[in-house]
């Protein structure tokens, strides 16, 4: 039984999503609990996979018993296992958090929301765990279709934002499929490990060059790399709170994971770093993304849109870190994938709580929230400090490794962008914190005391507890980052 756990990680959310509409026909409130139970089992399976990988090395699971390259194979190594745990834990936390928010924003659509939620998680897990190029495309499309639906049921303006996302997302997925097609035409195989063996004699071929270009271009659209990031701010700002808390941390990070896989496990580091200037282009792309995201974030008055531009800047950190192409920078980039997913989940969870309580996500509506919702705003402060990069939060440590890697690679422009964006983040978040401390009794006010005391009107427990758990995780990951690095990430970095 335990040998089948890798497939259970994907099958559990998939099968439970089949039963979710039936649960909804019986009683609507059951869907939430069904989704939470399914995702808890999924978290257990993914932790089991992680422990197995740490103890015994890479897991290779053959689907249907057929040997690769004739059948499909799941390959779980350290990078994979970390991503599996990350995706399943964040999905569980967001699912627990989503109850009140979905009841308020989408009262008639609860059943199908949780069905599509589970399908989205299935898509993510399927992308992360597979070792076959075409299987990745199939699960990428499952995740994309579910994402389109989850975003389009948001507020006014969400359908148009989703339509733009569909057009750009389909271009990205089709470019990925074209890249896979070119690899298939020149090597004859679709299995990642097999292609890695067959490629070295084909490095001079124009077909492989084009394949790399199209794979990376398609993934760049999916990960919202500047300048093809234009779909992200509209889509994630107008989506329902539970959707943006699920998609914003995970979708871009999973596309970044696929990019790392393609660059280092399908095309060897020799090709990606030495023969082609891919990594040089990546550092400059990261540089532009960091500066572009940070500057655009300053101009926003809507809290969620500001966070979306912060996400664009974070993608720039990771792309630039991988592009610096030394072991320390890549360690920092992989650690930053973990950290950024947790930080972004926490910040979007705070945005969702503010939306639930004040029915708005405008920065100017943050008045007095520090008195009304102290625990929520404490989580916000922890998340903000982590994005700025203050120890002992996790953001500091990954930024430290990225800066160290930039110094080793002597890439001063990227180093400057890293430091400048920390300064800009300080301005960004302190602006919100300042507004939060000022209370303007312009609305109903309180009738009891007649003075300026504010009653504490904290978020419901089902929303608050997951958010606080994420805040504690931000600090714990920071404190234990050496353990995570030495046991997991050091093995995930490719041999350069």
């Amino acid at each position: 039984m335990t040998a089948q756990i890798p497939i259970l990680v994907v099958v559990i959310p998939l099968v439970s999503s089949f039963f979710c509409p039936l649960m909804g026909l019986w009683r609507k409130g059951l869907c939430y609990f069904w989704a939470v139970v399914a995702l808890s089992l999924c978290v257990l399976a993914s932790f089991n996979t992680l422990l197995t990988v740490v103890e015994t090395g890479t897991i290779r699971y053959r689907l249907g018993g057929w040997a690769p390259p004739f059948g499909i194979e799941y390959v779980v190594d350290h990078l994979n296992a970390m991503m599996l745990v990350l995706v399943s834990v964040i999905s569980l936390i967001v699912a627990i958090y989503s109850k009140r928010s979905v009841e308020q924003e989408l009262p008639e659509k609860i059943t199908y929301f949780y069905t599509v939620f589970l399908l989205q998680v299935t898509g993510f897990l399927g992308i992360v765990i597979t070792g076959d190029l075409f299987n990745l495309y199939v699960f990428l499309e499952i995740g994309s279709l579910a994402g389109y639906a989850l975003i389009a049921v948001g507020e006014d303006g969400a359908p148009l934002a989703t339509f733009r996302y569909i057009v750009m997302g389909t271009i990205g997925a089709c470019f990925y499929l074209l890249g896979v097609g070119y690899i298939y035409i020149s090597t004859g195989s679709l299995n990642m490990a097999d292609v890695q063996q067959l490629l070295p004699q084909l490095y001079d071929s124009k077909v492989i060059l084009t394949a790399v270009a199209f794979l990376l271009a398609g993934l760049a659209v999916k990960m919202a790399l500047f300048p093809v990031h234009v779909w992200l701010p509209d889509a994630y700002a107008k989506a329902p709170s539970a959707t943006s808390a699920l998609l914003a941390p995970l979708m871009t990070k999973i596309s970044l994971y696929v990019m790392i896989r393609v660059l280092f496990s399908v095309f060897e580091p020799h090709l990606s770093i030495e023969r082609l200037p891919i990594t040089d282009i990546m550092v400059w792309a990261g540089f532009l993304a960091i500066l572009g995201g940070a500057v655009m974030a300053l101009a926003q008055t809507d809290f969620k849109r500001m966070l979306c531009y912060v996400v664009v800047a974070e993608v720039g950190y990771i792309v630039g870190g991988v592009g610096l192409a030394n072991a320390i920078a890549i360690k920092g980039a992989i650690l930053h994938i973990l950290n950024d997913a947790v930080m972004t989940a926490g910040l979007f969870a705070v945005a969702g709580i503010v939306m639930y309580k004040t029915k708005s996500h405008n920065i100017s509506d943050f008045h007095g929230l520090f008195k009304k919702m102290p625990f929520t705003m404490a989580t916000f402060v922890v998340g903000a400090l982590s994005i700025i990069g203050v120890p002992p939060t996790c953001g500091f440590f990954s930024k430290w490794y990225l800066i160290h890697g930039a110094v080793i690679a002597k890439h001063w422009a990227f180093l400057g962008a890293l430091l400048l964006s920390s300064l800009i983040s300080v301005v960004l978040f302190f602006r919100v914190i300042e507004i939060g401390f000022v209370f303007q009794p312009s609305h109903e006010g309180d009738t009891h005391s007649g003075g300026h005391t504010v009653t504490m009107d904290e978020a419901p427990a089902s929303m608050l507890v997951p958010t606080v758990v994420i805040a504690m995780a931000i600090i714990l990951i920071g404190l234990y980052n050496q353990t995570i690095l030495s046991n997991l990430i050091t093995f995930a970095v490719p041999k350069l």
Partner: protein, 91 residues
Amino acid sequence: MRILSLMTAVLVGATLIYGSMDMPRWGDPQSPASSHVSPHYLRHSMEDTATPNVVTSILGDYRGYDTLGETTVIFTAGMACILLLRRGRKR
């Protein structure tokens, strides 16, 4: 905007055609795609799966997981359309 789109489309098309210069000729029986994995499917389809239709045996057996994924895609699209289009009863 139209000029930019036209230039992008021409650039992408030119890159694709440039990439196709080194491809095996159309219909080459010794191309890597026809001589690496496919002969195994054609030769062993009868003994592994007892199915003369090789496309079915790959779809249902060797790469059956992709077919599960495809079925899930249809299910996801169906659930997505219900989520998007179903209007609640007017109270």
